[in-house]
Point group: C2
Chain length 261, copies 2
């Protein structure tokens, strides 16, 4: 029986770090998705195998919480495993480890499986005779001491900007890629945000957008100090557009001290 937890080594490349020398949150997200892809692939649940039966994974939620961020030239390891499987969703968790094995942070994600023709969700528990249940870790192995995904309530969000989407935003499926949303969302924030560092970043993917769509960004300051961002596509003065994704940021406070260079 294959181990249930995989270790995915990462190396922090020079062009993948921000002006503070820490990895961009989007790049870290990219590494997490690669780790997830490899873990699935090795167990016969990768995109390649799924495409043969006209199924594919869709990322629904991603929450990353970092006590510290990997820095340029650092070698780290991402471990990943399946926490649980329900009919329409599966929870996958991650730990981001230093070379000495200590944790820098953790992440949670939620995935659905869809039928590529109908674009409708599939029953994970019946697909491949419920094989995915073989990969769910035991509770004592599921060490992911960060909060679950939050709920978004946009009440007083203010419009920040609209951006066009171009060639570089689009993935092999012709969709704006999930990592590019993270980049565009973080680009709303001033330099000081990244001097403090991001403690937690959450994103909920709601709908696809495509090359040529315009994305409008709305921002809301919450009472607990977090900041929410809503992204809508093709919004106009008359039409609120469609919600594409929603995100929440928590910034490190100076007194946290973990993010000092």
């Amino acid at each position: 029986m294959m181990e249930k937890i995989d270790a995915h080594p990462i190396y922090i490349e020079p062009f993948h770090v921000d002006f503070t020398g820490r990895i961009f949150m989007g790049m870290l997200g990219n590494h997490l998705l690669n780790a997830a892809g490899n873990h699935s692939q090795r167990r016969g649940w990768g995109i390649g195998a799924l495409n043969e039966t006209r199924h594919t994974w869709v990322l629904s939620r991603l929450s990353i919480e970092m006590m510290d961020m990997p820095r340029q030239y650092e070698h780290c390891t991402i471990t990943t495993w399946v926490e649980s499987v329900m009919k329409l969703f599966t929870n996958r968790n991650f730990a981001i480890l230093r070379e000495d094995g200590t944790a820098m942070g953790y992440a949670r994600s939620v995935w659905a499986m869809i039928d590529m023709e109908t674009r409708r969700p599939c029953d994970l528990l019946s697909l491949y005779d419920g094989d995915i249940l073989n990969y769910v870790v035991a509770p004592e192995e599921n060490i992911c001491p960060i909060e679950g995904h939050g709920r978004f309530r946009f009440r007083n969000a203010e419009f920040v900007r609209t951006i066009p989407t171009y060639y570089s935003d689009v993935d092999i499926n012709g969709h704006i890629n999930s990592i590019k949303y993270i980049e565009h969302i973080l680009d709303l924030f001033p330099r000081e945000t990244f001097e403090h560092g991001i403690r937690r970043f959450e994103i909920a993917y709601k709908a696809e957008s495509y090359m040529g769509d315009t994305l409008s960004f709305f921002q809301q300051q919450n009472e607990d100090g977090t900041i929410d961002v809503e992204v809508r596509k093709n919004a106009t003065e008359e039409n609120p557009g469609e919600v594409v994704c929603q995100a929440r940021l928590s910034i490190h406070h100076a007194e946290d001290g973990q993010q000092e260079s």
Copy 2:
């Protein structure tokens, strides 16, 4: 004596390919720069060693010519070596090889060394007692059958667009990163350009720009079918701004046939 040519393995990740399944030119550029960085590092000429003497490499030119582009999940190898060294510049070449060792394309680059205090170029031939000359390959090893860097002459360039620069554009030095210029330049082009595929991409870096600078893009169609792009920072109606970089694209013609999926 250390070999003069290094082999740098690369793997084409899912989020690094465009809607055709081929690697983004910017991502390929990023891999080339990593290969260059590793090659220098192993020979005592890496950024780390140089920073101790307050020197750093500056990329001046990069020309990439591809018969075919690596595709999603492909394993390739980049080989790189020093072609020649002059007082103020060194030429570094690259080959991009398939798993079977055949070439998919080649690249040429020009680098200067600057003093980090004065920002002025250094004499490469005298630095470290001319040690860099030990790494110049013999002419018979310098297999890079692509044209040298061209010259730019902007005569009838038309303004296309101005974009702001944000957090994601900036590298650890606080400069807009060299790869991001490639992305922004390619974002000027329509979908059809990438359906044909890019045969050759050249860029000349002229000046640094910084987070918050606005970049204006001007485009010119040349008689030989190539397209030139000039990027200027902080241009206004009264002020032409400063040239930051210039690029040239050649697109595959349908009859080339190399880029069929």
